[in-house]
């Protein structure tokens, strides 16, 4: 295998602590406690190593990254190296002074999650009273501070009817971008799949609506659409290819090719506390495992699309096929594609009571 190129981006989960308890959270089911988090000096060292390695963008995420009191210091350090900083926040209990301070430190962009277009849905999903109003307040604060704003709306059966409302909300809040992101089913979302999976008809209506809105709003609002895997023809190029140009770091310093990679049991991860980031990027066993195309089996191995989608999502292959080197079952060429459609069909046809979520909490699935 040829040597890897330089990586472009890192998703840095600064903490797993979060005031919200969304049942599709992309954090692992086994959440890390505060006392395992990397300290400030370690993060600053890692981000310097990242800039040396060619990293151009860092997505500061969580959990809720604003719970880290050293966030300003981290943004300053990245900004000093010319790295593009994107804050990914739930936007509850974030003070206006803090937003302004982050802007002063060189923060480039804010991505705010919105669980619902109405207070009822936001509170149902995040399991927090008053969350909706706080989010709107944060969005206004971001624009007031002169920072650009993206709204990220994860879509599932409880808000798939609100897509049009999310578009109007994005415009009302003067957002530059809106992400309509259908939930991907691993981790917490897999635990809650029955409660979250939308119905086929609703998915189809959503696709039409988003396409029409993109056309109508061309040049006015940028809408990124993460399509639903379970109803796809071809898989997504997850992370743009395994360890190809982006990776992530967990709160305790574990470097992983994607945020669900821990669901593949045989992978061996390195920690940024023990090794230089350049060494991890070049030779971490977990990064090497599915890098490039040499690991592929059929039908991926001889497929014309193998360097477009890199076989799709390894974690979804693990979850559905029981083999992380299998073709992502989201692909219509996968022998398990029918199984995936059957799961989607069975799941969404059941009447799932809304209050039946396993909410994301530390210790729940430990």
């Amino acid at each position: 295998m040829s040597a890897p190129g330089y990586p472009i981006g890192i998703l840095a989960e600064l903490t797993h602590r979060c005031p919200l308890q969304c049942p599709y959270c992309s954090n692992p089911a086994k959440l890390l406690k505060a006392n395992t988090e990397l300290d400030t000096q370690n993060w600053l060292r890692v981000f310097n190593e990242a800039a040396d390695l060619g990293i151009l963008q860092v997505h500061l995420s969580g959990g809720e990254p604003t719970l880290r009191p050293d966030l300003e210091e981290i943004v300053s350090a990245l900004s000093a190296r010319g790295v593009y900083t994107n804050l990914i926040t739930a936007g509850v209990n974030v003070k206006q002074e803090r937003i302004a301070a982050l802007k002063d430190r060189g923060l480039d962009h804010v991505q705010l999650s919105v669980q619902g277009a109405t207070p009822e849905v936001t509170e149902l999903i995040g399991n927090m009273k008053g969350a909706h109003e706080k989010k709107l307040e944060t969005a206004r604060g971001v624009r007031e501070a002169g920072l650009p704003l993206t709204l990220n709306a994860p879509i599932h059966r409880h808000n798939i009817h609100q897509v049009e409302d999310f578009i109007n909300l994005a415009l009302e809040l003067d957002a530059d971008r809106l992400e309509i992101a259908n939930v991907q089913y691993y981790g917490w979302a897999l635990i809650n799949r029955t409660q979250l999976m939308p119905a086929w008809d609703d998915v189809m209506a959503q696709v039409d609506l988003v396409e029409a809105a993109r056309e109508e709003l061309r040049g006015r609002l940028l809408i990124d659409f993460v399509t639903p895997d379970y109803y796809a023809k071809f898989p997504k190029p997850c992370m743009g290819g395994w360890a190809r140009d982006a990776f992530m770091i967990t709160p305790d310093g574990t470097a992983m090719p994607c945020h669900a990679a821990h669901t593949i049991p045989h992978l061996v991860f390195d920690n940024v506390k023990d090794k230089h980031l350049a060494e991890i990027w070049d030779s971490s066993p977990a990064f090497e495992a599915y890098r490039g195309t040499d690991w592929m089996k059929e039908p991926c191995r001889s497929c014309d699309r193998r360097e477009q989608d890199y076989g799709g999502c390894r974690c979804q292959a693990m979850a559905i096929a029981g083999d992380a080197a299998a073709t992502d079952p989201a692909c219509s060429l996968s022998p398990l594609h029918e199984t995936m459609l059957t799961i989607a069909g069975q799941t969404q046809s059941k009447e799932a009571p809304a209050d039946d979520f396993t909410y994301r909490r530390i210790g729940v699935n430990a």
Binding site: Y6, I8, G9, D52, L53, G54, L56, Q57, G82, Y84, N86, D108, H109, Q111, G146, L147, P148, T150, E164, I167, N168, L171, E172, D176, R177, L209, A212, A213, E216, L217, R218, G219, R220, L221, L222, D224
Partner: protein, 100 residues
């Protein structure tokens, strides 16, 4: 669809004075020895001609002036440069990577 907004699409003309929005940055990447365009979710690697246009999107020069300057620099037919530059700017404006 019931969309309510007063926000307008930028229709690029010769009088438009294009600039990069605050969330888009041209950055010289020392590791790769190349110019990168950094935007919220994407890093792009503009070619030389794109870079020549983007560098002139300073909010002071009009699209017409950018065409004149580039035609002189490339010793090219201004009418051809005109069409290329206008098309480029409109495409980028529609992706909200260039504003005015």
């Amino acid at each position: 669809m019931a969309i309510t907004t007063t926000r307008k699409r930028l229709v690029v003309s010769e009088a438009t004075k294009p600039r990069l929005p605050s969330y888009v940055r041209l950055h010289h990447d020392a590791v790769r020895g190349a110019w990168a365009l950094l935007s919220p979710e994407k890093v792009m690697w503009p070619d030389e001609i794109s870079l020549d246009i983007l560098r002139r999107c300073d909010g002071a020069s009009s699209a017409g002036q950018i065409v004149t300057a580039l035609a002189a620099e490339y010793d090219a037919d201004p009418s051809m440069v005109h069409d290329d530059v206008m098309e480029f700017l409109q495409t980028w404006a529609d992706r909200r990577l260039v504003i005015a």
